[in-house]
């Protein structure tokens, strides 16, 4: 089954690739829409837009998903619910494609909500408590974005159409459009895990590794970036884009630092994904959407490969993900280590691999632009941090001694996984150059002084050296961590964001709901309607019963009363 779907998706990937070339050559855009209803002079339509950008992204998504499905043939081979897994992955691909091709804010919801729900199912695929919590965090963080998109729909009602691409240009100075842009930016931040919402991305690593390769590195998390690329006309030169720039840079920096404190293999890769997402978002918010798109695509390739290598290693290590147990992997798993190293090098931007073209261009455009010192330093520090955690990871996994249990069984002959990794290996070597030739009509003209030009190399070298040093730390150097306990706690817990977005929020709402239930539903509402009414009725019927039970006494009593009244009247009259 996996092989069939591999060929199916691969075929469509190649198809969209050739169509992309055709569309680029002829500068062609196909737009078609299907009207569901036209009502009150506004139409709800399902629209689809095919241009080179859509087709290129579709090609990448389909390619990665095809190899991921092929990879799962071996990775998930002993899983009981393989069919469910494959169906979920296919549904995920479907909703991703629906998201990519729809330029209409209602029909984009089909893909957007679908991504959230299917990724929820994929995160809770394993039946343990960790994946349960991670799934809930993921789904609810993404739901914030869904709700904001719903609100955007209600505001776009003012423009008489939800096909936003037609009027973004003309309406961008409108007041309502600025509300819309805030909500769009926030929605994109939830999907792309920018800073207030970034805790879900490392948590979502509870998913099976092929899912992490497809969903949490290359496709789902880039949906937010893609949405902002489509909306970039609207958000350019507004105030909110500066806040987005600040937040995304902080995300980039925060993730880079946290990755250095992390020992979970998948979480390190997830944090590096987060860092790259911050890079994409920030370059987007500086006004270079094409660079963001370029980095999005090349990043998708090598990050998916990185996750797939991590999956192989986790398989071999008896499902242990802690990098402290690993070491000397390169001796036992040469092919996997090759792929891992190449994808890591591509991530760092080593020349002529995929990441080099996009990342180097981004860094140079940043240096070239008119920016403040803060942006400049954050960019370069994060660049160094990438090298820092990469070298640290390599030292732990490849160079140091093998630390696992005394019995182990490492082999590098799982050719299903290796073959699927080879496809991505090829792509993560060439995709940078191929994309840079393909999607830029004119090369960027960059003119920098020598030291600024070499700055990337300086910070990378420095980061690499520091990564080497930190991985060689011996047991006594733990004391250094204890000395700065609070700081390292803050940094390695992602600035306390996971705690803040789970316990920090849910406690108040749950407590509030509980109090409401006690006070309103079981309290005042009952008191003033159900039970209270019954008590009052009971009281009065007991009271009237007293009259009815004491007939004779009351008769005599009323007789006496009447006599008193009559006598009183007689007295008055006299």
């Amino acid at each position: 089954m996996c092989t069939h779907f591999f060929f199916f998706l691969f075929f469509f990937s190649m198809l969209s690739f050739f169509f992309m070339i055709y569309f680029v050559m002829n500068n062609l855009v196909i737009f078609f829409e299907w009207e569901l209803i036209s009502f009150n002079s506004i139409s709800i339509v399902m629209s689809m837009l095919f241009d080179w950008m859509t087709l290129l992204f579709m090609m990448f998504v389909l390619l990665i998903s095809s190899v991921v499905i092929y990879y799962s043939k071996s990775y998930m081979s002993s899983d009981l619910n393989l069919i469910r897994f494959i169906i979920l992955v296919l549904l995920f691909v479907l909703s991703m494609i629906l998201l990519i091709i729809s330029p209409n804010i209602i029909s984009i919801l089909l893909g957007w909500d679908g991504l959230g729900l299917v990724s929820y199912c994929l995160v809770i695929y394993y039946q343990n408590l960790k994946s349960y919590n991670a799934g809930m965090l993921t789904a609810l963080s993404n739901r914030i974005g869904d709700v904001l998109i719903l609100m955007v729909i209600s505001w776009m009602l003012n423009y008489g159409s939800w096909n936003y691409i037609f009027y973004l240009n003309f309406m961008k100075n409108d007041l309502i459009m600025s509300f819309i842009s805030i909500m769009i930016i926030m929605a994109a931040m939830t999907k792309s895990a920018q800073i207030p919402f970034s805790s879900w991305l490392p948590a979502a690593m509870a998913a099976p590794t092929p899912v992490s390769a497809l969903v949490h590195s290359s496709t789902l998390v880039t949906a937010g970036v893609y949405l902002l690329i489509r909306f970039n006309m609207l958000i350019l030169n507004t105030f909110f884009i500066k806040i987005l720039l600040l937040l995304s840079m902080m995300t980039m920096f925060m993730a880079g630092v946290s990755a250095n404190y992390e020992f979970d293999l998948k979480k390190i890769i997830a944090l590096s994904t987060l860092s790259q997402l911050g890079l994409m978002m920030s370059i987007l918010s500086m006004g270079f959407p094409d660079l963001a798109f370029f980095h999005l695509l090349s990043h998708a390739m090598f990050k998916a490969l990185l996750f797939m290598c991590a999956g192989v290693i986790i398989h071999m290590m008896n499902d242990i993900q802690d990098i402290r147990y690993m070491g000397g992997i390169s001796l036992y798993l040469p092919m996997t280590s090759l792929c891992l190293n190449i994808s890591n090098m591509a991530l760092c931007g080593i020349p002529f691999l995929a990441g080099f073209y996009s990342k180097d261009m981004i860094m140079e455009m940043v240096s070239f632009s008119n920016l403040n010192l803060f942006v400049f330093f954050f960019y370069y520090i994060s660049m160094g941090l990438t090298m820092f955690y990469t070298i640290r990871l390599l030292m732990y996994m490849m160079i140091n001694d093998y630390n696992l249990l005394s019995i182990y069984n490492l082999y590098d002959e799982d050719y299903v996984m290796l073959k699927s990794m080879m496809v991505l290996l090829f792509m993560s070597v060439i995709s940078g150059s191929f994309l840079s030739w393909m999607i830029f009509y004119y090369p960027y003209m960059i003119y920098l002084p020598f030291n600024l030009k070499m700055m990337v190399i300086y910070v990378s070298l420095m980061g690499g050296v520091m990564g080497f040093l930190i991985s060689n730390m011996k047991i006594y150097s733990v004391n250094k961590f204890i000395m700065t306990y609070n700081l390292s706690n803050f940094l390695c817990l992602m600035w306390f964001m996971p705690s803040l977005s789970t316990y920090g929020l849910s406690y108040y709402f749950l407590n509030f709901g509980y109090n409401l239930l006690k006070i309103v539903d079981l309290g005042w509402s009952e008191f003033y309607s159900g039970q209270g009414f019954m008590i009052i009725l009971k009281k009065y019927s007991i009271f009237y019963n007293i009259f009815q039970m004491n007939n004779f006494k009351i008769y005599l009593f009323s007789f006496v009363m009447w006599m008193i009244i009559i006598m009183y009247m007689l007295i008055i009259n006299i």
Binding site: I37, I144, S529
Partner: protein, 444 residues
């Protein structure tokens, strides 16, 4: 109209015959297909002396027949153990006839009569086929909450008849009853029936004690009676409603948010679904009361969508209940290990409940959000919270029942049968496929 009525009346003898359970169910399905053949227009059609239907009645009648048919399908257990099955069948037939009449009569007083009349079979369903002794109290809650508010409605109707000398709903639209006491009398009954926040207490109680068929009809149709009544009576209360609707809107929107928080504290599956119905209905009330086109159609779509969706969720709760004999979330755990296919249905209906595309609930929610945000942008805050927490409790219900370890004290278990899957499919299919034909709901 008469032909459908006589069809149903002449099905009554069939209910007394032995082993005619599936026949009745089949004939109800046939009735629905016959009814579907009626042409659908914005204005009344099939007009007779006092019965007709426009598109709102049409959809709700279709929904009633469909839900009644599915009720029979879901209570096959009663048929198997022969638990007063003839009386059960005739009860459902009476309920269906009364609902049909409620939605199709054009006279406001007759509408009131059948509106209240449909309460009796529901009460009998709860008291007769419920499970715990508390069902008597639940029945009393159901009865007296709705009756208490609807007696003022009766007085209001008498007043109007005295003033206007007519009770024709479509005639009343030429009048503007700008009179606050009449306004409150007229809408309060429907607000309790919906139910609005603060007067919703009867609904969770009734749902918890009702058998599956009772829950299905309550969530599927009974709540929609309130919405239908509001859509009808607000025609002649437009001016006063525009002055006073903010009261109900505030209560509903705040209440929707509060209710969605309360859902997180529920440990009873049925109670959770009942609370989620209140949450959805609060948005429907708001959409009706802002009185614009989007709200009008949005509330209608939401009523249809919610009727199918929550009825399906009650079926799911019952399927678990039949196997585990408990509705507690602490016992209904990890069902994915036993019934993975049913888990898919849980997910599909849960996602429709949180208005994921492409369900009718999504379309309804979009329209209602449009209407409410165009009424006041401040309602955005509450709408966002409601929408977010709706997803929260839906996921809570889904993941708690389906994910993780199963209950260890379980003695025996059996898998799903095809009747149950068909039942869920028949809930889900119209819910998600009717979005392809939105013209049935939004008539320009």
């Amino acid at each position: 109209m008469m032909k459908f009525l006589f069809y149903m009346i002449f099905m009554i003898p069939l209910c007394f015959m032995v082993d005619m359970f599936w026949m009745v169910q089949f004939l109800l399905m046939l009735l629905m297909f016959l009814f579907m053949n009626c042409s659908l227009m914005y204005l009344n059609n099939n007009l007779s002396y006092m019965m007709s239907f426009d598109f709102i009645s049409f959809g709700l009648i279709l929904l009633s027949i469909w839900i009644c048919m599915l009720m029979l399908m879901s209570s096959e257990n009663l048929f198997k153990i022969n638990y007063y099955i003839n009386f059960f069948l005739i009860n459902i037939m009476m309920l269906l006839i009364l609902l049909f009449l409620t939605f199709s009569v054009m006279n406001l007083f007759l509408f009131y009569l059948f509106f209240e009349g449909s309460l009796i079979p529901t009460l009998l369903l709860i008291i007769g086929w419920g499970y715990q002794p508390e069902r008597i109290q639940a029945g009393m809650y159901l009865m007296f909450y709705t009756l208490f508010a609807s007696l003022p409605l009766l007085m209001g109707l008498f007043y109007m008849y005295n003033e206007l000398n007519s009770m024709m709903i479509y005639f009343l639209k030429f009048f503007n009853m700008n009179f606050i006491i009449l306004y409150i009398c007229m809408i309060l009954a429907f607000l309790v029936k919906m139910p609005m926040y603060f007067v919703h207490l009867w609904l969770p109680k009734a749902h918890v004690e009702a058998p599956v068929s009772g829950s299905m009809i309550l969530a599927g149709i009974m709540l929609k009676l309130g919405g239908y009544g509001l859509l009808r009576v607000l025609i002649f209360l437009q001016e006063i409603n525009l002055k006073l609707n903010y009261i109900w809107l505030i209560i509903s929107l705040m209440g929707g948010f509060y209710i969605s928080l309360k859902c997180f504290c529920q440990v009873d599956i049925k109670s959770l679904i009942a609370y989620s119905s209140v949450c959805h209905m609060s948005i429907v009330i708001s959409g009706i009361l802002v009185m614009n086109y989007w709200g009008y159609f949005g509330s209608y779509i939401m009523m249809i969508g919610h009727g199918l969706c929550s009825s399906g969720m009650f079926c799911l709760a019952n399927i678990n209940y039949e196997r585990l004999h408990s509705r507690s979330l602490f016992i209904n755990k990890g069902m994915m290990n036993f019934m993975p296919s049913l888990s898919m249905w849980w997910f599909l209906l849960m996602s429709s409940n949180m208005s994921a595309p492409p369900s009718l609930n999504l379309l309804g929610e979009i329209s209602l959000i449009n209407s409410l945000v165009s009424w006041s942008w401040l309602s955005m805050i509450m709408l966002m919270l409601i929408s977010f927490f709706s997803a929260g409790y839906s996921l809570y219900l889904y993941s708690y029942t389906q994910h993780g370890k199963f209950y260890q004290g379980m003695y025996s278990f059996y898998g799903g049968v095809s009747r149950e899957y068909l039942l869920l499919f028949l809930h889900w299919l119209p819910l998600n496929m009717m979005i392809l034909k939105v013209e049935y709901f939004m008539i320009n």
